[in-house]
């Protein structure tokens, strides 16, 4: 009897624990794809960190003209030659 009672208690405990674990695991699975909320401070810090830092990529600090006619007019206005950078993906936004 004692053995049976212990077994019953064990089964109850096992079932409830398992159910509990299942719920926890299920929540974990459901939330695996959900973003963990970020504090405003953490968000700002990460956003700043990803963006280009001044001096880090100086070629990206140049105001590139995608419009040839506008660039030609500006060059003539300022009395300067034109520097053209061409790439397959369209420099400077592309790696090539």
């Amino acid at each position: 009897m004692i053995f049976l009672q212990a077994k019953e208690n064990f089964l109850k405990h096992f079932i409830f624990t398992s159910l509990g674990l299942t719920v926890v695991v299920a929540i974990g699975v459901v939330r695996a794809n959900e973003p963990t909320p970020l504090s405003a401070q953490r968000f700002e810090k990460l956003h700043q960190m990803i963006k280009p830092q001044r001096g880090e990529a100086r070629w990206m600090e140049i105001d590139w003209h995608p419009n040839i006619w506008e660039a030609r007019q500006k060059a003539a206005r300022e009395g300067k030659p034109l520097f053209i950078w061409a790439g397959s993906g369209g420099a400077p936004a592309a790696g090539c």
Partner: protein, 321 residues
């Protein structure tokens, strides 16, 4: 000035100008040329030699309307312009590493065990890790759809598929760091969801918190990913966070900051899937930040820098069925 190489072959005044300048852009690699506004070629790279050649030109040769190039006018611009009253977002992509506590840190050469060849200094290769800046376009109708007619704090509004799928397919793109940015195909999009939650409502503005998630490419498998030469295919998974503000008086989006805290894995190095140089074992962070662009000329560079991204064939503006 920065243009895609295909403009050289365009049958329009811009292509005509570049051909007149003697530009010879043969392959898909990058090219540099120095020319005068009148179409006189001065050399390849900026130098004192180029400046000397420029000084020797006549006034006529420095004018943009000299000779047979006089017909080129701004309304014959070959690259597409941003959508009228639309949103232009700058998209910054950066490769990162994690320290022993899991915090983000800058990459170092030692993080890349597959470097082949004689790379001696980080400066030789750091352009492969970013930051790379691209542009995302959102039409007026699309961003206006973000704004609820009767905003109530706590309300949740799912961003439409046209925008969320565009963001994932064209702008959550690790390969922008290493190549012209071979995009994802629609079949590689496993999931993307992006929601705006109203956080603050006042007479002046509505402030939203953005949250979402995107998964593109393969499913991560740790065992396969531990061998960078292994069979694990390219994949990227990113929680999305953001802050969006709408100025009610000016009827404009006044802030649109988003970040994708993503991990990349597998064979992703270049558009041909062959490059080993930037690959690392396991899943590694590639982070992407979005922000409103300004009104500088470079802020009109089309998505992908190319113009083809927003063409009819690309599906960039096509509303999914």
């Amino acid at each position: 000035m920065a243009v895609p190489t295909w403009v050289l072959h365009a049958k329009n005044p811009e292509g005509e100008f570049l051909r007149e300048c003697g530009c010879q852009w043969v392959t898909s690699s990058g090219y540099m040329d120095c020319v005068s506004a009148g179409g006189k070629r001065l050399g390849h790279f900026p130098s004192t030699k180029v400046l000397d050649a420029f000084r020797k030109l006549s006034e006529e040769e420095r004018k943009p309307t000299g000779g047979k190039l006089a017909s080129l006018t701004s309304d014959q611009h070959v690259l597409p312009e941003p959508p009228k009253n639309g949103l232009v977002l700058k998209v910054h992509t950066r490769s990162m590493s994690r320290d022993e506590k899991g915090a983000y840190r800058k990459v170092a050469l030692e993080d890349f065990p597959l470097w082949q060849g004689g790379v001696k200094t980080f400066a030789e290769v750091n352009h492969l890790f970013g930051p790379n800046t691209d542009y995302m376009w959102i039409t007026q109708a699309e961003w206006q759809d973000f704004i609820p007619a009767n905003p109530v704090k706590g309300d949740r509004h799912e961003v439409g598929k046209a925008v969320s799928e565009r963001l994932a397919l064209f702008h959550l793109m690790p390969r922008r760091l290493t190549s012209e940015g071979a995009g994802w195909s629609r079949s590689q999009l496993r999931t993307v969801k992006l929601a705006l939650i109203v956080e603050e409502v006042s007479e002046k503005r509505i402030r939203f918190r953005a949250e979402g998630f995107a998964h593109l490419g393969s499913i991560y498998e740790a065992e396969k990913a531990t061998t960078p030469n292994g069979p694990l295919a390219f994949g990227y998974e990113a929680p999305l966070h953001g802050i969006v503000e709408y100025d009610r008086k000016r009827n404009v989006i006044s802030r649109c900051d988003l970040i994708a805290l993503g991990d990349v894995w597998g064979r992703w190095g270049d558009a041909n899937g062959k490059s080993l140089t930037v690959e690392r074992p396991g899943r590694q962070p590639i982070l992407i930040a979005f922000e409103l662009a300004g009104d500088a000329p470079s802020d009109r560079i089309p998505p992908g820098g190319n113009g083809a991204y927003v063409g009819e064939k690309s599906g960039y503006f096509v509303r999914p069925k």
